[in-house]
Point group: C2
Chain length 243, copies 2
């Protein structure tokens, strides 16, 4: 049975302040919890699950503190409207230092919507991009909505937060591609072996101080009437052409 | 001042049953309302807006019944968490009969999420696709969340609901492209002048009875670990290569 203090602790992790203090985040649902357990058991600190889920997944849980709970208890600790069998507490990632040479890095300028951020991480994972860097005003990676919408890709993509102007201002750096409305057709650009791909905030685009440091401006040619594309959709299209 | 019966009527349009009965839908926010007014004033039946929005947009409202309301009244009739200056009631579209020859048509198999459906309509609009057909089990086009996420593209893209098996089963028809996990690389397919592009439901993909009638199976090559792409992202990538 879940004690009150534990319920309160897990609920508090819905807030960034407590996630930052504890270094812990919530992951929910069979898919994401399994991906995290497979990524390395050390990452997952505790699993709270319905009895049938525990029975089915014994092989994954050998080294993980696991507590059997009821549906009513899961409802209490879940951040989802419809809780889904299992909730895990995991330690926030500590990645080796970011290295931009020799690979493609996706750099996100102020993506505010948690669902968009998670979807972009999932897209990066699909295209084999293992490094994403967010400007400091982006949504929090450990927001439960971000974690959910990565659909498990959070376990495979390293996500950093950094001052993007400092990152792309490095004179020994790699080419920087900026997605704008009046650049070169992305389908005609040679696939780069390394570089930083800047994706702008949907309403404000890429900030001028970053745009002026871009080496190549690229565009997804528009043939109809829509004014813009969703940031995640744009990221998907860019990566499908450049990887 | 808004009378009670009017408030009740507008609120009822949040439900499909009442939208179907009346043939009316709700559009909210300056961007979408302006797009609808520009698309043809006959479409918009009534506009409810804050005084400042009416003053700024007099030129658009000459032939449209307009009622000035307060913020509190807007709150009552709005479907949004944060109402945005203006709400319009518009008549549902009546389009000429669908014609699949000589153009590209996007065909959606059971897209359930209203945000996804709206985003796909917006993507179609960006790529100049003016015809989208949804299977009968798809989300309702006039769901306020669909309307919002089209960002105004609803005014430019004709959306139909149809039995997709009947549509693509027509022997005198056009090529049918199906997006699957093991088809030809979409970046290597010749751009078709006409055809139907099938986009599957995210969890179930394209139903077998449709898949067996497809002439070309295409794939967005996967280079990393993610199991799937969001349906709207997949649609964007496919259209960026095939238009």
């Amino acid at each position: 049975m879940l004690v009150k203090s534990k319920i309160k602790y897990i609920q508090s992790l819905g807030q960034k302040k407590f996630r930052d203090e504890t270094g812990v985040f919530i992951a929910e649902g069979p898919k994401i919890v399994k991906e995290l357990l497979n990524a390395g058991p050390a990452l997952v600190q505790e699993v709270y699950a319905l009895p049938e889920w525990i029975t089915e997944n014994q092989h994954l849980l050998k080294h993980t503190l696991t507590e059997e709970i009821t549906g009513a208890e899961l409802q209490k600790i879940s951040q989802l409207k419809t809780p889904n069998k299992v909730l895990a507490l995991a330690g926030q990632f500590t990645h080796e230092q970011m290295e931009v040479k020799g690979r493609l890095t996706l750099a996100l300028c102020g993506i505010q919507d948690p669902g968009n951020l998670g979807t972009i991480i999932r897209i990066a994972d699909w295209f084999g991009i293992t490094q994403v860097v967010c400007s400091e005003d982006s949504a929090d990676l450990y927001n439960p909505k971000v974690i959910q919408s990565t659909m498990g890709s959070i376990a495979r993509v390293r996500v950093y937060y950094s001052n993007l102007a400092d990152l792309i201002g490095d004179p020994a750096g790699v080419p920087v591609y900026a997605t704008v409305l009046d650049g070169q057709d992305v389908s005609k650009i040679e696939k780069p072996g390394q570089g930083i791909l800047l994706i702008g905030n949907e309403s404000k685009g890429i900030p001028p101080e970053l745009l002026q440091r871009a080496s190549v401006r690229i565009t997804i040619p528009k043939k109809g009437g829509a004014e813009s594309l969703n940031a995640a959709v744009a990221a998907g299209i860019i990566l499908s052409h450049l990887t």
